[in-house]
């Protein structure tokens, strides 16, 4: 014990030349000065403060719309007339939720959208993985050219193909073969087929990006791994199923998360392929419920906007749950993909 008490005294004498007469430790003020009043510490502290201010500020910018949506969803009509009410409702009510859920058939849309998004995400995850693996690991003729085709599908705005896409699936035909055989074309609008066909080929919404991510991921997987499997007598496909698929779980989770949530909030394909009479999906609940009668209301613009925001909140609520569980895969999967060039 005693020897330990001696040590700091000696050290201080050497370094700073303090006149150490006392028996116990250096006084608080001197310790404080040596530790906190240095330039390095000041710099560090300033940086930390700056960092947190920035991060918290931007987090606020990101979260604010959601906070506002939540606040607005509980407001009653009177709150919109009250000038003092901004975020915290004075007369909280659940009427908006009730009206949306009952009149806009929220649960029907929820179920339909869930089925559609889940199926699309699963199919897209599997096909983009297979395609990405094909592009990453096999050197056949035209590999590069076909990969440029994938990039091309990413760059073409799908809005530009809107008319052609609709006509294609309204009068579905493959180079006139179907018409030749049966005498007429097939109407695929209001079925799952258009999205199924596009997903199957890895050509649906943003699938080019998924193929790109998968390809980058598989390029990072060392060839020796597969060679070892080949030496042990496993074929290409068996190797893929037994070795590669278990390896690529985080990446698959990332792509699934992307595909699921982007399909969920999509309002391009789902409104084009499912006209109002068909599948009842999320975009269709974005109407003002009639029981809330907005029309003659004084602050009708803000009120109807708040109702729309509540609907948005209801749309993203299930996604939020998915995000909470899937968020760690997002960073992990992308981190492991090692995207370079």
């Amino acid at each position: 014990m005693n020897a330990e008490m001696e040590k700091p005294r000696l050290k201080k004498k050497q370094n700073k030349g303090f006149d150490v007469e006392f028996k116990d430790r250096t006084p608080f003020w001197q310790r404080f000065r040596a530790r906190f009043l240095t330039f390095t510490f000041l710099k560090k502290a300033l940086w930390a403060v700056f960092r947190y201010v920035l991060l918290i500020g931007i987090s606020y910018v990101i979260l604010y719309p959601f906070i506002a949506k939540v606040a607005g969803s509980f407001m009653s009509k009177e709150d919109f007339l009250d000038v003092t009410v901004r975020l915290i409702p004075r007369y909280p009510t659940l009427d908006t939720y009730k009206a949306i859920i009952t009149e806009n058939k929220y649960f029907l849309a929820l179920w339909n959208t869930f089925v559609l998004s889940f199926l699309c995400a699963v199919v897209q995850m599997i096909t983009t993985m297979i395609i990405g693996y094909g592009f990453a690991k096999f050197k056949f003729k035209g590999n590069t050219f076909l990969f440029y085709c994938v990039i091309f599908t990413m760059v073409v705005p799908h809005q530009a193909l809107r008319l052609a896409l609709f006509q294609k699936f309204r009068y579905f035909d493959i180079y006139g073969i179907i018409q030749l055989l049966t005498g007429k074309t097939i109407n695929l609008i209001n079925t799952y087929w258009p999205l199924a066909i596009l997903s199957f080929g890895g050509l649906a919404f943003k699938n080019g990006l998924y193929i790109f991510l998968m390809r980058q991921f598989f390029r990072g997987v060392p060839d020796e791994l597969e060679e070892a499997a080949y030496v042990d007598g496993s074929g290409v496909f068996k190797t893929f199923v037994r070795i590669i698929i278990p390896l690529s779980m985080p990446m698959m989770a990332t792509v699934f998360l992307f595909a699921f949530s982007w399909q969920w909030t999509d309002n391009f394909y789902s409104t084009m392929f499912f006209t109002r009479t068909g599948g009842y999906l999320m975009p269709q609940i974005l109407t003002i419920p009639s029981s809330l009668d907005v029309a003659g209301f004084q602050a009708s613009e803000v009120y109807s906007s708040a109702i729309m925001n509540t609907e948005a909140l209801l749309i993203i609520l299930p996604l939020l749950i998915v995000y909470v569980f899937g968020q760690k895969f997002l960073v992990q999967g992308i981190e492991r993909s090692g995207i370079v060039g």
Binding site: I62, F66, K69, T127, F138, V236, S261
Partner: protein, 322 residues
Amino acid sequence: MNQAVKTKPARLPKRRSGKVASLDRKKARAGWWFILPFLLVFFLVYIPIIFDSINFSFHTIYLLSGGGYELDPVGWANYYDALFTDAHFVVTLTGGIQQLLLEVPAIVVFSLFMAVLLNQKMVGRTVFRAIFFIPVILSTGLIDSIDLNNAFTEYSQGSVDSGNAIQGSDSLMSVMDLQNLFAGMKVGHELLEYVVNIVNNVYGIVNRSGVQMLIFLAGLQSISPAIYESCTIDGATAWETFWKITFPMISPMILVNAIYTVIDSFTASSNQVMTYVSSVYENEGGDVLATAMYWIYFTIVILIIAAVAGLLSAYVFYQRRD
């Protein structure tokens, strides 16, 4: 003729090496099986769709009452209408492209900066990461279109009520403050407007830089810590380390992100050109005209992407890994 004879012997060695490459060739054949789904749908469905879309833009389309449609060739009339008859298209187009060019650097720089921040060790990093990637998942499609002109969020921030002409009341900084600041610094008016635009649009920029942040984070993680260690030993400051190590190592990602940002923001439905053209699409007989507009826009953006890629790839640094 002579050349044709000359090329023949060049092919032969390839065939002779067939024995060595037999496993490779077997593998190459398997590669076709893997990309088969893409090939099938791409050539059977997607190429005809692209072709149709281009074809439609040179026609007028009539829907027949008995089902089916009829095309009436009109040559370049749709393109002529889009460029010279339509009063708003060219103005919107130039404005949109100008905005695109201004926003791309802002998004790339912002996402790089945030990725560097989020990569540092600190308390609450996972929470901040989770918050920063919320827009990737949630602010797309439907939600994006609702947030585009959201009367309620503006109301709750108090800007509707104040009703005065100063636009800065709902932004982080007042325009007047910035104006004073920049007037003192004697820099151009254009720069001022650029900064004011970005500050006013900070939500849009934060919202659209999620994927870019992810890509940068992945890049930052892939830099070996040993390099940083040796830098610290040699006495480099954090500033020097960033510019001499992090920046060159991450430059391929800057290229990827710049291109991704261009693609992403020009296909986004919140884009003003896209909004305008889809409003044209809804008009009577506007569908072919809109398709022509989309293709004009697409051509210009492809040129921009090529220019960006060409410009940046001159400065990209690739680490040799063997």
